[in-house]
Symmetry: C2
Subunit: 160 residues, 2 copies
């Protein structure tokens, strides 16, 4: 891609004498890292009030959507390593939020199912997560949030 000549405020055309730190801290990757860290912190703190972590919320959501589902399928959907999925499901099963029974149709698989307690818990977690995300974007107006999310989505989907 030809860069053309960028407007004077874009970080891709730094002034020759611009401090290196100023340059770095204006990079999208740097800002995304900070924003992501803040989001993780806010969400993690919110979910921690319920004794849960983000991975628990994600997997519980996947189980809710995919009904009886094997662990490998959960891993493919949520992006967690099979090894980590074992631990996450151990936690969820210990709190009786999911059931883990051998699949009679394919004895290699475990059929993971949501319990009623799991469904109630998931509703709580979703609420906590939404509130944290509201705080994360508190600096933006509703219209700006929508625009920001649209742009962010395009950046993310460019990864596929």
């Amino acid at each position: 891609m030809v860069s053309g000549y960028a407007p004077c405020m874009t970080p891709n055309a730094p002034a020759a004498d611009e401090p290196a730190l100023t340059h770095i801290r204006a990079l999208p990757s740097w800002l995304l890292n900070r924003a992501s860290a803040r989001g993780r912190r806010l969400v993690a703190e919110a979910l921690a009030r319920d004794g849960m972590r983000m991975s628990h919320h994600a997997v519980l959501s996947a189980v809710a959507d995919l009904g009886p589902v094997a662990q490998a399928e959960l891993g493919r959907t949520t992006g967690f390593d099979p090894k980590d999925m074992v631990g996450i499901l151990n936690d969820l099963q210990a709190q009786e939020l999911v059931t883990r029974a051998p699949d009679p149709a394919d004895r290699r698989k475990n059929a993971i199912n949501l319990t009623p307690a799991g469904r109630r818990r998931l509703a709580r977690l979703a609420k906590l997560g939404d509130e944290a995300n509201e705080a994360l974007l508190a600096a933006l107006s509703p219209a700006e949030r929508e625009l920001f999310l649209a742009l962010l989505t395009r950046v993310v989907e460019d990864d596929d």
Copy 2:
């Protein structure tokens, strides 16, 4: 903050029957995590071609800006833990990109300085970092990038 009623596309007003996974994956925190991970990967891969990591680039930039500077000050500026700063500077010093000499004015401190080789290396790293960031936002037009960065900056600065 009163939520008012949001436009139908905002994730803060999920449809009652919306799949939990769809909801989670549309959360700002989720998208920011993915975008941040992609940025980290792109930048890390670019810098790895020069045998460096992001922390090396950041600290090297800070040294370039702050002239002779103590490690604690570098840590405060870049946000790295003092413990990690030791390792980062060990790496930079081993490649003779910085000098680390006791500060005669305050013998508790180390005076960190950039070497000529460090300055040349920093220029290379900045170029690699910029290219990776260009790839990161390749899906957006220049105007959209500017807008995205402005919004992202406000989200980040809301953290202070």
